[in-house]
Symmetry: C2
Subunit: 336 residues, 2 copies
């Protein structure tokens, strides 16, 4: 297995081994999710169900489950906690779509478009509260500490991103701080809590935290890169979405820093919302290619992917470990 | 003191005894609030501080503190928990103002008007997460259970209210369900958690829960009545706000049920947003007076006030008990 740990991007890495591995556990988690998004107020399961049933990969709960398998955890608390993690994630998506005014997610109309912003805000609050109820049921103050910290960090990251919006001068450093908070923190917590319920050492907690965090950063960077890869239609998002919304992501940060004065003016116009046409997007792709901005975004993703794999080197070889390694390889290979 | 327990609405009941009673504790709570709404992202303390420093009475944290004094609790966990309760309340207000599109609260511009809806949603999420971090610090899973349940109930109540919005046929029963959830649940939890940290019996927990819950309902009903009392300018809200927003409150429910067919049409038009002028509001006041809808709303508030006072009858006489009784009398006397 040590050979595998240093091998990145084999011919066709896949999420399938992890999906297979956690399949039975994930059925239990999905049952908890369905049971606990019910309410006497019909709009709540309607709206929550639209997003929860709407084609998400359950990446975060899968990480909790895979981490528990890695540690050979024999209890059942991880099912409830994986559902809590998914509820936090879903609440965040509902509020994100309100904040961004998004109208499509995973190819479907967003809840805020169908039911309005007020309903999305309030059902998000409900799911967020429900997630804490689930954590209380699992009975671990330490898990509550980890997930309440993660939630606060996510919200801080979202506010940080909001205050940085449409600023072409955003630095790579601040950008990494933002994605560390808004994406990687929940990946890290999802993995870490498995070590807590399995009553493992602080070092093992930290190892799983590092695995999740680095995977989360790699995942987000590849997502950012995909937006500038024109044949990315099968990847769950459409190329150009970020560009048309003027989002500052790493490809833009790198291309802006490396371009000519004329290029800089183009990016400033784009980020400030004055260049959103198909021709503008074609020009943007040309610029990120010329400056190797996508290549280097993906190189950074591979770097964080390597860190994720290294983080779990201490654990003995097992199907769970192999699946977790291949999940990283899949994450960083998605854009090729 | 037993005589006091059955006396309602004396000449000039006041919140002052409770304010005096908890003054030193509330200073500690305010310090926790200030310390814990900080963040590296400057917008968070700016926006949160606008609302938290903006003239709120700290009613809910005061109830936690007064309840702890009633029980002669000697620890310090109640300071952190009272701050957690205020954070939940503040998060709810931030999201409420987004949901209602409000532009004024307590006579000041709302955060959503100054900083926009996205910032209000996300800072609300931050405060909500922070409140759970504070609860974890206090270290009681039972408190976490109570406050996560209350939060879920509040969100459900808000969604229930949203789906009932602008429906003139709303029943008194459903209306009470809504205010029980969106207002009374947090009053109840704020009081109950004092019994938990003081390690008192389930019966004492329930007594304080009932005190807070009934006070919360009374409080909300009086708030609803004040909107139709034209000289209510000093009460922290302007008369007619609810009317102009087409809000279904108990005075409207009663006046609608008791009015002529012509009156019913007027109320339908008003609730559906087609009657918002000063003349319309004057006519509405005339109708609620004629049908005794405000009188009976206040009578119901006194009923719930009596239940609140009865709920704490079991506790021995003390300055805390006297202050808690007078707080109820103040709450139900505000509209006179």
């Amino acid at each position: 297995m040590t050979a595998t740990a240093t091998r990145l991007a084999p011919s066709a890495p896949s999420l399938e081994p992890m999906v297979q591995l956690v399949s039975a556990d994930l059925d239990r988690v999905n049952q908890v999710i369905l049971d606990r998004m019910t309410s006497d107020i019909p709009l709540i399961p309607q709206l929550a169900g639209h997003l929860i049933a709407g084609g998400g990969k359950r990446m975060r709960p899968m990480l909790t489950l895979a981490s528990a398998l890695l540690l050979d955890y024999q209890g059942t608390h991880h099912h409830v906690l994986a559902a809590a993690v998914e509820f936090i994630h879903t609440a965040t998506l509902l509020h994100d779509d309100v904040v961004d005014g998004s109208d499509l997610r995973r190819g479907r109309r967003t809840a805020n478009i169908i039911w309005g912003n007020p309903a999305s805000v309030l059902v998000g609050d409900f799911l967020f509260s429900r997630s804490f109820q689930l954590m209380v049921e699992a009975g671990s103050l330490k898990v509550l500490d980890i997930l309440s910290n993660a939630s606060a960090v996510i919200a801080e990251g979202e506010v940080n991103q909001l205050t940085a919006a449409r600023q072409v001068t955003l630095t790579e450093d601040r950008y990494l701080t933002i994605i560390d908070a808004k994406t990687a923190a929940l990946f890290a917590a999802a993995c870490r809590i498995a070590a807590v319920v399995a009553d493992r050492s602080e070092a093992e907690e930290q190892a799983l935290d590092a695995y999740g965090r680095n995977l989360g950063i790699a995942f987000q960077l590849v997502d950012d890169a995909i937006d500038y890869v024109s044949d990315a239609g099968t990847m769950g998002k459409d190329a150009g979405d970020d560009f048309r919304e003027g989002k500052m992501t790493l490809p833009v940060i790198l291309a802006y820093a490396r371009g000519s004065d004329e290029d800089s003016r183009f990016w400033k116009d784009a980020v400030e919302g004055r260049r959103t046409s198909d021709e503008d997007f074609a020009h943007a792709i040309e610029l990120v290619r010329r400056t190797k901005a996508v290549d280097d975004t993906l190189a950074r993703a591979r770097h964080y992917g390597s860190l994720a794999i290294e983080a779990i080197a201490r654990f003995p070889a097992s199907p769970a470990k192999a699946a977790m390694i291949e999940a990283v390889e899949f994450a960083v290979a998605r854009a090729y």
